[in-house]
Symmetry: C2
Amino acid sequence: MGTTQLETVPEPKYWHLKTVLSEALDQDFAVGEVLPNERELAARFGVARATLRQALEQLELEGRLQRRRGVGTTVAPPRLGVAVGSAQHCWPGESGDDWTPVDATEAVPPAAALGLLGTAADQLVHTVRRTRVTQGQPVAAELLYVPAASVPGLSAIDAPAGPARARAVLRELQRLVLEGQDRSVELGSARADDAKELDRLPGAPVLLVTTRYFTAAGTAAVSVATYRADTCRLTFADTGDVEITHDARAAS
Amino acid sequence: MGTTQLETVPEPKYWHLKTVLSEALDQDFAVGEVLPNERELAARFGVARATLRQALEQLELEGRLQRRRGVGTTVAPPRLGVAVGSAQHCWPGESGDDWTPVDATEAVPPAAALGLLGTAADQLVHTVRRTRVTQGQPVAAELLYVPAASVPGLSAIDAPAGPARARAVLRELQRLVLEGQDRSVELGSARADDAKELDRLPGAPVLLVTTRYFTAAGTAAVSVATYRADTCRLTFADTGDVEITHDARAAS
DNA sequence: TAGTGGTCTAGACCACGGG
DNA sequence: CCGTGGTCTAGACCACTAT
């Protein structure tokens, strides 16, 4: 046995497939073009459909492909750069953003938000739903939690459910002086309701952006925004002026 | 046909399974505990192993589980909050961070970085590899690209490959005055080399953090950091002082 | 060597979208 | 209606880890 391991790296088929497809996408396909269907592709590469799908899943995760049931698989455009916390510390609902108020209710927030708000486990909290549309595409769905204690005027709101009520809550928020905010980003999978707003299937990969807004009095509101991970690139500009505008694939 | 659709929502099995497992994790398992193996679980729930795996994959994506080949599936601890761009605008390599310089070479950067650097397609660029370890765990692998034109002293570096050379490049960077930086976060899958550093399989979901550092003269360096998406929650503190310290699951 | 998760196959049926 | 991707099955073998 004179052989010393000699790079015995049986690369998984789906991984190799992904590489091959990726190169093909760069060279032979234009954005928006539809690929052959999965059965066809699997046959062409001599693998089972499940294996082919594993490769496609990865490419979709990387934002290279877009798959829609009943339609087909298309080449995705470069990810949209969406600004997060672009302008210097400002409250949600400030004029000029791409957010659309949808509804507002009073409810007990989920455990995840409870910990951040610091409210009691049975405390009702104003909950505002907003969606964000950029360049015609839905990119994010948000739930904003505002405890009644944060803004005195909140309890006087009597607008019926719907966008009007959502706007009313946001308007009250503007009265406060925002001292600062902090934010975290993590990977998640879309809940059924968010998936619907985002035009995706439940479980789709999303970027969870959690923002805490505080005033001198403490945490005034918490926002949990769900961004489509397949189509979005979140941008943060520390200087406020410049924007990352790279386009990775086009440069090759 | 007097029925009006009546909620015909055949929820996929793996989705329902995920919910059931998720609740079981909250109630009956402690962090670090190992679950029964996949064949056992599949049998217990009366589904094929592939279906069970689909549910486990989602839970792993959400950071609830950790799976290791040859070992088993364990309950994951809450995600680590890792600060990104914590201190006010500072160069990479500033003292006191958790980054470990690994190596430095001169190479042609990948297309993705090329566009950001604005260098020619055949231009050699100083490339520094660093890894980040937080609380004993590898959380990120980074490639930092510094064009020779950015810092005069760079071409004089003659340290042999290895950490020493990496430190030398970083030291040169500190001479410049940092004017600002911008940053973007997106979902990706780990390349083979990054996966190795992160102790994961190739293709594992990662958060790609791209940072552009600039001086008055323009873009001086670009960093592409690959964070483990399963174990990390990236935190951004706009005020510099406060840190999100929530622990979602513990609060239920 | 035994037991784990990772990969792969070759089928089947279902849900959705568009003609 | 047909064609698409999405779900599901019941197997098989491989790669890795711990003992």
